[in-house]
Symmetry: C2
Subunit: 428 residues, 2 copies
């Protein structure tokens, strides 16, 4: 039983500031919740003299990690600097010094989660990372704790706020991608280099973490097939809506026949689905299990205070262990990876938009190619034509991804076809 | 460290059967998840010889509780018979014999939760009851664990599947209450005596439990103001829809200025709200906190396997403690109750439907009464008239509940008014 639990905070950016402020302003509440006082005893920052919008005692600031971590007064290390290095080195040092670790670092956990969990277990300490997926919305703890009697069969999620904000605005304002992106950057919803978000990399990190924990089988970020949203146009939204769909960047994975498959890409979603109606920067994660069916978690996926909430929940959980004198290790068994289903083996429906010459025989040529590849057409719509060009929209039934790509290649080469303007998978 | 964890199951009804079946069919999975084998060692039933759709060794069945509970081989008692007695007596005996308890009993926890938690704590054992609210959808564990750094400010939920099923069908089929109720009874979604569900009692139990844990201040079931759905008609749905609303039985509570308020009643909800779009037997719970904003949990709220999932998550959590040799007690501090806001002090918007004579001066008389009570009208619609009677719909701005009730009393007594057909609170 310790009266004081020492907390070493690495990073004082958006999330770190939120954590530090709450530790100070809710000191009494946390003491009551834990049974011991949570004391911020070191804060590691790159620039100790930087002006900040709140006061911390200058004694707290440190810029070297190695010495302080041996300090007996530190019980929990919080890492909120992000990226693989130097975060990974710091965390391994902390664990090897029997310090518990709480991190919000999705890239690190997606790439090295199992290794870090093993090091923690060897040292009889815990590493928790609730904030790494869906920010303030609880999802890792429910997966580990509340679904422990279930087989989790699939995950379907909107877990990147930037892209969902952009897509939501494109949908409601009938605006084009670059227009909305610029505005999102001005408003702080997108970074000046938005690549990680708009190309689906950020969502892939989160999906890899959730999938690994859910299926107890390591899915690395590089195992996640990834397509971004930069090709989606206002026209696609118009047509999707007419057909009863919304376009969302969906992170989807499933575990079937001992095989993982995981992918992040734009998707046409039926408006009857709850995920189709998730707008703005919010996140939604739908977990499918054998006993419960679908359970949806929906809320803030980023931001200083929501993310601090998740970090602090982990800190309080660990601190309750320390306070009661017992550490109960987590059951995050992640085995070596199962085989991963290639994207070309996927079976899916497709939305295909084609610009073609407005003349007889075009549909016949396209549909012959599709038929040759065993792709059957669910519906076909000819949109308005201008300049002798017709816009054709084809919705397919389920077909093999590989066949679709082969067929698209052949359709693209037809003399009557000007371009395949877009092709987007349809989820339901 | 125990190799075997003995489980004593009280009750083998819908939930108990689900629990027993999973314990048997997933034995290996649970052993891996816990580190010890979970062994069903006693099953208490009223009728030992009753025919069941699955096989349990006859040796397991017992019909007396007192002797067996002293048995050293029992570690966890699962209670799934429901109701206050004899469940309460059994649970207290179990706790006093240092057995951990898992229960799905909402009535018991709503009425006696803090007392049972105290007894558990005194005996250094745990009592968990995730299944008592929202069935398979995790909500109690997130409130205790994941929101531990937050102040929870309000709860807004659909937590009775029967009524949500009935209201959803009334809405989509434009059907009347009794018609749909009969069908729901045939389909097994409503009991032959549906009172507990349709009068909001079941939802009040669940709201009382969630509110007590969220605000750390005891809200008893009798503190929850309760109105059922039996007065809602197809006509109300028609009008609500025209105005952009869906009618739902909402369980709502908040904690403000050291005061609790908690209520279950039909509500007009804007169609833009996620809760308005929750249909069928599913449950949705929206928790509002200071750090995260709103977080929504959505999924199965009842049923054999979903409820068994929640029971077993509690059992596995406790068993992991037992298996690692340490019991970490829960932090469910529920203090004596704060004062409860009376329903008459509520400030709310109202939908009021009145049948009145179709003659000049009616609106003037009604609006004078409302004005006298400081109630301002947001909109007023005269629906079709027949037989010299007009149907009037009044939407008010926010007003004091007491003033509304007084005004309704006076309006009812007007000579020109035939009846107040319905009055329903409007949530947003």
């Amino acid at each position: 039983m310790k009266n004081e639990i020492g907390i070493y905070l690495i990073g004082l950016g958006v999330v770190g500031s939120g954590v530090a402020k709450q530790l100070i302003s809710k000191e009494d509440i946390f003491t009551e919740a834990v049974g011991s006082k949570l004391v911020l005893n070191h804060v590691m920052v790159r620039n100790k003299t930087k002006k900040r919008d709140f006061q911390l005692s200058p004694d707290l600031f440190v810029d070297t990690f190695e010495e302080i971590i041996n300090d007996d007064s530190t019980d929990v290390v919080i890492e909120v600097i992000g990226g693989v290095e130097p975060a990974k080195t710091f965390i391994i040092q902390a664990l090897n010094n029997q310090k518990h670790v709480v991190t919000a670092n999705k890239e690190l956990i997606a790439k090295h989660g199992p290794e870090l969990i093993s090091i923690a277990t060897e040292n009889n300490v815990r590493i928790l990372f609730e904030a790494s997926v869906a920010g303030g919305t609880p999802i890792i703890s429910p997966v580990i704790r509340d679904f422990s009697a279930n087989n989790i069969t699939s995950i379907k999620a909107i877990i990147n706020g930037t892209t969902n904000y952009i897509l939501s605005r494109m949908s409601t304002e009938n605006a084009d991608y670059f227009e909305v992106l610029k505005d999102a950057q001005k408003l702080g919803y997108a970074e000046s280099d938005p690549t990680n978000d708009v190309e689906g990399v950020d969502a892939a990190y989160k999906l890899a973490i959730l999938s690994s924990l859910s299926y107890k089988s390591f899915v690395k970020d590089s195992d996640v097939y990834c397509e971004g949203i930069t090709n989606i146009s206002a026209k696609d939204f118009q047509i999707a809506k007419e057909l009863g769909y919304e376009i969302k960047l969906i992170a989807f994975s499933e575990f079937k026949d001992d095989q993982n498959s995981a992918r992040v890409h734009p998707t046409l979603n039926s408006k009857n689905e709850m995920l189709a109606n998730v707008n703005g920067v919010l996140n939604s994660v739908q977990i499918e299990t054998d006993l419960i069916g679908n359970v949806l978690f929906h809320g803030a996926g980023a931001g200083s205070l929501p993310t601090a909430s998740a970090v602090l929940a982990d800190v309080i959980d660990i601190s309750r262990n320390i306070s009661s004198g017992f550490v109960v290790l987590d059951y995050m068994n992640i085995s070596e990876k199962s085989s991963i289903v290639e994207i070309s083996d996927l079976v899916t429906k497709y939305y295909i938009r084609v610009s073609a010459k407005d003349q007889p025989g075009v549909l016949s040529q396209i549909s012959t190619i599709l038929a040759n590849h065993q792709i059957s057409i669910a519906s076909f719509i000819q949109k308005s034509s201008y300049d002798g060009l017709a816009e054709l929209v084809i919705m397919t039934h389920e077909a093999l991804e590989r066949s679709i790509q082969d067929a698209l290649g052949e359709i693209r080469n037809l003399n009557v076809v000007k371009a395949i303007d877009n092709s987007i998978r349809v989820m339901n």
